[in-house]
Point group: C2
Chain length 563, copies 2
């Protein structure tokens, strides 16, 4: 234990940190080469589309405009002591960047960002090349799709800092060759426990796009409320929304889908079935078994109880029609009919289910198989791939289309078993990616008030997740990516941003850059991201005292701060 005073030790440390630290890029590009020069952004900086492009999709043109606004308006001070004042000597002799030239490869398909983002998962082209020289010559961004260009633009905006009105970048020249490690990088929002206004969802989509998340998993309805206005099924929201104001109209839905698409995000809509459907009883009582039965814990994992009477042919047809009607509102090739937490006791107690079972000679699982095949087929007939919660693969004996994708949520330990069944996987493990955990239980009167999935899932924990743990090489090919999830028992507009950001960025980098990242290296970039999110109107929280944020490495534990 030796005494080392600040000036000598820490200044050296900070210097080293600064030198070895690359740009505030999040997610980190998969290939990044940097130099040591600075570059100023010209006040007349422009983005110019080059080559013989006859038609530039509207959403890409708008993305280019937003990019120019962002590099001009972010005005993010560098997250170091002095906030960039020490960069001034470098800037003195720095060249100016006048333009970014955006061009497309000769095989580029010039469909819109939205169209590319909504293609089947593995065929979306998100790759791009970005070069920013330091000699004042134009930067270049090359992609083979509007979506790839959009990803490159997002990266470009993260290069820039501001000090005293000068916008500048460091570590130039920069050469980036980038594309995602995994095709599915998502965020799930539950709009049933609490309703979120469209403006919240749009702000979330913006933030998602800035970290290259490409999939909104919209858990739109649940037992508590049915905010989704579905043509031909308008009574469900009319009677099942929390209030007439807390609904998503068909126009809202189209608006959300369009806004997402223009930001490179596909919307995976989920209508959870056959469990988590109590609220349907408000409008269609005949389809729901054990509606709001008490004590609820006997009939459901969460109040209120109530599940689709899936043994009934009428309920099966109703559900198939509902899924079909919802699925046609969303252009995605993915659709989720849910499938989690089915409570069998509900059906044991349901006279109508028992009567159907005894008259048809089926058992409950056989009836479920029939229901799942029929309702999933309605979705498959629309050219969509079902995305189900893991129980459909692991717990129930039902026939799934072989292309069916499973969300492994109960635990990261479920992944191996799902892979062994040959289904593709989206990581959604409660023990890593549930953003609501650790905020206290909400079921009275629990004095301790602990939650079902304590403790809080830190960004470090999610960041350290290994998507391929325990999988064979062949099984590993089944992993499509993953998502952070927000169940909203204790969330509303009041805390949406702080509970999600910057934590959800951990999986964004995990699935874009790939696993194995070092949390200490990531930390300072995550600070940058958090501050940039704030600059752009998202209430991301600080993950360290500002003193630490401004001094990369200085708050690390001694065991690593000496490296």
């Amino acid at each position: 234990m030796t005494q080392t005073s600040f000036p000598a030790f820490l200044l050296l440390f900070i210097l080293l940190s600064t030198l070895t630290r690359v740009h505030a890029l999040w997610p980190q590009p998969r290939s990044l080469q940097t130099g040591s020069e600075a570059l100023k952004l010209s006040p007349t900086f422009d983005i110019i589309v080059s080559g013989n492009i006859h038609f530039l999709p509207l959403d890409l043109r708008e993305a280019i405009s937003r990019t120019k606004e962002q590099v001009k308006n972010d005005r993010l001070g560098r997250v170091v002591v002095g906030r960039g004042s020490s960069d001034q000597p470098l800037l003195f002799q720095a060249k100016q960047l006048d333009a970014l030239y955006l061009s497309f490869g000769e095989h580029a398909t010039m469909s819109s960002i939205a169209d590319e983002a909504r293609k089947p998962l593995e065929s979306r082209d998100e790759a791009y090349l970005l070069s920013v020289p330091c000699d004042g010559s134009p930067a270049t961004l090359v992609a083979n799709s509007s979506l790839g260009a959009f990803r490159g633009l997002a990266t470009f905006t993260q290069l820039w800092y501001n000090f005293n009105g000068t916008t500048y970048a460091l570590h130039l020249p920069v050469d980036i060759v980038d594309s995602p490690s995994y095709p599915y990088r998502g965020f799930m929002l539950d709009t049933a426990r609490h309703y979120f206004p469209v403006i919240d969802i749009k702000r979330m989509l913006d933030a998602m796009s800035w970290v290259k998340l490409n999939q909104l998993h919209w858990h739109a309805v649940d037992s508590q409320s049915f905010p989704l206005q579905v043509p031909r099924f308008m009574d469900l929201a009319h009677k099942g929304a929390y209030s007439p104001d807390e609904v998503y109209t068909p126009d809202d839905i189209a608006d959300i889908v369009s806004y997402a698409g223009a930001r490179g995000i596909d919307v995976l809509i989920e209508i959870d079935t056959p469990g988590h459907t109590s609220v349907i009883s408000k409008a269609r009582a005949e389809h729901i078994a054990c509606p709001e039965f008490m004590p609820w814990r006997t009939f459901a994992n969460e109040p209120p109880a109530g599940q689709l009477r899936f043994a009934s042919p009428a309920t099966t047809n109703f559900t198939a029609s509902l899924l079909e009607a919802v699925a046609t509102m969303f252009p995605s090739t993915l659709f989720s009919p849910g499938g989690d937490e089915l409570n069998t006791n509900c059906y044991d107690q349901d006279k109508e289910t028992q009567s159907i079972l005894s008259s048809t000679g089926q058992n409950l699982e056989q009836a479920l198989d029939r229901f799942v095949r029929t309702t999933h087929q309605a979705v498959i007939d629309l050219g969509k791939t079902p995305v189900v919660w893991e129980e459909m693969v692991l717990v129930h004996n039902v026939t799934l289309h072989p292309e069916t994708i499973a969300l492994t949520w109960i635990s990261s330990d479920s992944v191996k078993a799902v892979a062994q069944k040959g289904h593709r996987i989206i990581h959604a493990a409660a023990d890593f990616f549930y953003l609501d955990c650790g905020g206290g239980g909400w079921i009275a009167p629990d004095l301790a008030g602990n939650g079902y999935c304590d403790p809080f899932k830190t960004w470090q924990h999610a960041y350290s997740f290994d998507p391929l743990a325990n999988l064979t090489t062949e099984e590993a090919t089944l992993v499509l990516g993953g998502e952070h999830l927000l169940w909203t028992e204790q969330s509303s507009s009041a805390n949406l941003d702080p509970i999600v950001w910057p934590r959800a960025a951990a999986s964004a980098e995990l699935y874009w850059t790939g696993p194995g990242g070092n949390t200490s290296d990531a930390l300072s970039r995550l600070h940058d991201l958090s501050f940039r999110l704030q600059k752009r109107g998202v209430n991301a929280i600080p993950i360290q005292p500002l003193w630490c944020a401004l001094r990369p490495g200085a708050c690390d534990l001694p065991t690593t701060s000496s490296t």
Copy 2:
């Protein structure tokens, strides 16, 4: 286990809940009598001060104006299914309330709310009587002080709901006899790990006043930053604030004190000494031992290391002058010179301290005793009572003024020992009242990322706290009350409201109404409060799914839902 369908069981249950449920008052008055009639608020409702009051303090007049605005503008729907539609039959025949008559007892002293709020703890008069009849005759509020009247006004605003433009109250007539169980009911905000703009602090003060909290414990400075501009010590903020914008000017401070006072809140300023003072080294290097030494964990519980060189007479004089200068900026009779987490290793390594100790023949504890006596005396000479962290009583062998109050923070288990030393106590236990716990550690690279005081402290947990546990009757008289605390390593403007509200309301009721409250009974009132806070611009979070909030009792665990 019997099957009970919703309509019969739950409707009865909700009906019972509604009948037994009193008003959405928080904190619950200590004596409350209610009836079963409704009452509408007249569109011309006014608050009239009666009796021979020659002079009404300005802050009370302003509070009366705000009260009228609140009852008119809250427009809070009742937190039940239908949001008040079922109250309409009751309203049909309800009388209108035209006025609230505010009067003062014959021994009333008509000083301002602020003056009363800043009196010594046990002499503040917060009592009031509130009667709201249902026959249309005026409501009456009687108090012996402006502060008591202000508390009564806060209660009055919580009686009112709104449905379709009609403002109304239920359970009339209401008769309330109220005064606090404990004189100190606080909230601590740390503005050193992160800076909070004045507007945030004011919003916090408003919310505090609505739940009758009466003490802001302002942990203004710490090792990370020194945002407080103190005349004659301006260099401390000049060199120690995070930035020139992140300071509290003398005008800001006066503004905060005045705003708080007008809301019945006294400001207990804390200048933590002799630990937690690293940042002073930026301006007055000579007074700080081990400034920013690494590895920090050897020299401090949290980075950066650095503590006042308390063995030095010059440092002692500097500190006494600083405390005096700060104390004169605050009218409170309380002042906190801090006193937690002193790291002795810092001094073992400090040549100057060692040299002073050896030349004077003192040991470290003797030097500390001298420092504490001198610096505390500077505060006592101004007529103020020192408020210290528990280590000053339990860990160090220092001479404290017998009136010194201790904040028991390390654990609720510390309380008994402090009481046995005869010091008065403010409960501030980390295991009950720390709002920052459970949000994940922030020291890299901790993969698990757990925090030092996990788990999250739920409102239920704080609410169940027994302030007198293990104390004798005599020791119990030493308990002044308590506070919720927000250390801001991971908090900023971005999440101030959601991390504090409604949780901090738990201790507000605990120390006003007294302990022993039932969380199930409290739950629906807390929902009401949370929604009312939202209506008034505070981002309080939901503590249950809205489905549960709208159905008191329906989400309780079966074991209690059958009562």
